[in-house]
């Protein structure tokens, strides 16, 4: 478990690696989109444009499956598209590479204290999946939760009725849903990266035979699969939660 650099480590800890990686992910997504849009052509799409159009189609299909009506689908489509492609890139970044530096001296003002450094064997992670951080995924989940409730409050009567009908026990979901929503993503990505890190740390046999390589490859493929699936799962659950509280079309959702 590597250490991370923090801003305001004692009062308001901000994980600089996670935030930096979030911004990097956003920039990568933006650059990919701009590349795809460079030669935007309605009649003969080619290259990246096809890929991005496919992603939009995919996001639309996902939203249509989970939202009660076409108006809600169009409302959530930008968010669903962004979430899908953003999480995909974010999950994959940690698989493509992780960068950690080895520090001998603690840097207290960045939260890298002596005992933390010792627990991490001197490793300080600088390049990692932003989604391998619990606070970040919970942040996204809570954001989705707030958005869904804000949208639900557009129609207060139906909104308040849907808590007690069909069963008041459904209120529990309002707490468990965002928690599982965030923790699921975090757990999957973090587990993938943690095991990758451990496999990479296995000592070489006789100093040169990488015995963990087959296992590493298998786990890498599995993690790639899980990363893709989790991006999809998080996005579709987001659509589902928002769709459940969209009462635009006089439909109580699914």
């Amino acid at each position: 478990m590597p250490a991370f650099p923090y801003l305001f480590p004692n009062s308001f800890p901000i994980n600089l690696t996670t935030i930096g990686m979030m911004i990097l992910t956003g920039l990568i997504v933006l650059v990919m989109l701009r590349l795809a849009l460079r030669k935007l052509d309605m009649r003969s799409p080619r290259g990246m444009q096809n890929l991005m159009e496919w992603v939009v189609d995919f996001a639309t299909g996902m939203a249509r499956d989970t939202m009660p009506g076409e108006k809600a689908v169009q409302w959530v489509l930008p968010l669903a598209f962004t979430m899908l492609i953003y999480l995909f890139v974010a999950n994959w970044l940690g698989l493509i590479c992780t960068i950690a530096i080895h520090l001998d001296k603690p840097i207290p003002w960045l939260g890298i204290t002596a005992e933390r450094l010792e627990a991490a064997h001197g490793e300080v992670s600088l390049f990692d999946s932003p989604t391998a951080n619990m606070s970040m995924t919970l942040g996204l989940a809570i954001m989705v939760w707030v958005i869904s409730h804000a949208r639900g409050l557009r129609h207060p009567r139906q909104y308040f009725r849907h808590f007690i009908s069909p069963s008041p026990l459904a209120i529990i979901e309002e707490i468990t849903n965002p928690l599982t929503h965030g923790m699921r993503l975090y757990g999957n990505i973090f587990a993938g990266e943690a095991l990758l890190g451990i496999l990479l740390g296995v000592p070489l046999l006789f100093g040169w035979i990488p015995i963990s390589l087959p296992l590493l490859l298998v786990w890498l493929f599995y993690s790639a699969f899980v990363s893709t699936i989790q991006a999809y799962v998080f996005s579709i659950l987001m659509c589902l939660y928002i769709g459940n509280k969209s009462f635009d079309e006089g439909h109580a959702g699914h």
């Binding site: 956003g26 849009l37 309605m42 159009e53 930008p78």
Partner: protein, 161 residues
């Protein structure tokens, strides 16, 4: 190890990134897709309209063709009827003319025959008169002469009439 700072800042960061991606990445793409959808819709509508129009035109043409065919048949029938009538008229006229000519010729012949007969009779009468005169001049008295003339006149009258 929940980090309040990371939690809040990541939400803010994501919202900012979402705004940027949505504004500069998704919007043009969605606009283009919408344009394409409208374009395709318009094309389909136009194609349907054109098809309907073409079918209408085809039906119209077919109807016109049928109409003109019928008209041609009518014209042909009328022409044929008229030609029949005309030929019948011409034939009738020709027959009448021929009849007339025949009649005329017959009358002419009759007349000429009569004339010729009359002429021949006159000539015979003259010749008989001359002959009789010549004979009588030599042998017959005045009285006999007179009697003979009367008789001859009577005969002539019978002959002529």
């Amino acid at each position: 190890m929940f980090e309040t700072g990371t939690f809040i800042v990541s939400i803010v960061t994501f919202l900012i990134l979402f705004f940027l991606i949505q504004r500069f990445g998704f919007k043009p793409l969605a606009k283009m897709l919408e344009q394409r959808r409208l374009h395709v819709e318009r094309q389909i509508t136009e194609a349907e309209q054109n098809r309907a129009e073409a079918e209408k035109l085809l039906a119209e043409h077919r109807q016109l063709l049928e109409q003109s065919r019928q008209e041609a048949r009518q014209l042909l029938d009328a022409a044929r009827a008229r030609a029949d009538e005309q030929s019948r008229e011409i034939l009738a006229a020709a027959q009448a003319e021929a009849q007339r000519l025949l009649e005329e010729a017959r009358q002419l012949i009759e007349r000429e025959r009569t004339e010729a007969l009359n002429a021949a009779l006159n000539r015979v009468a003259e010749l008989s008169v001359e002959l009789t005169e010549k004979l009588l001049r030599s042998r017959v008295s005045e009285a006999t002469h007179k009697e003979m003339v009367e008789e001859a006149q009577k005969h002539l009258g019978e002959l002529v009439c």
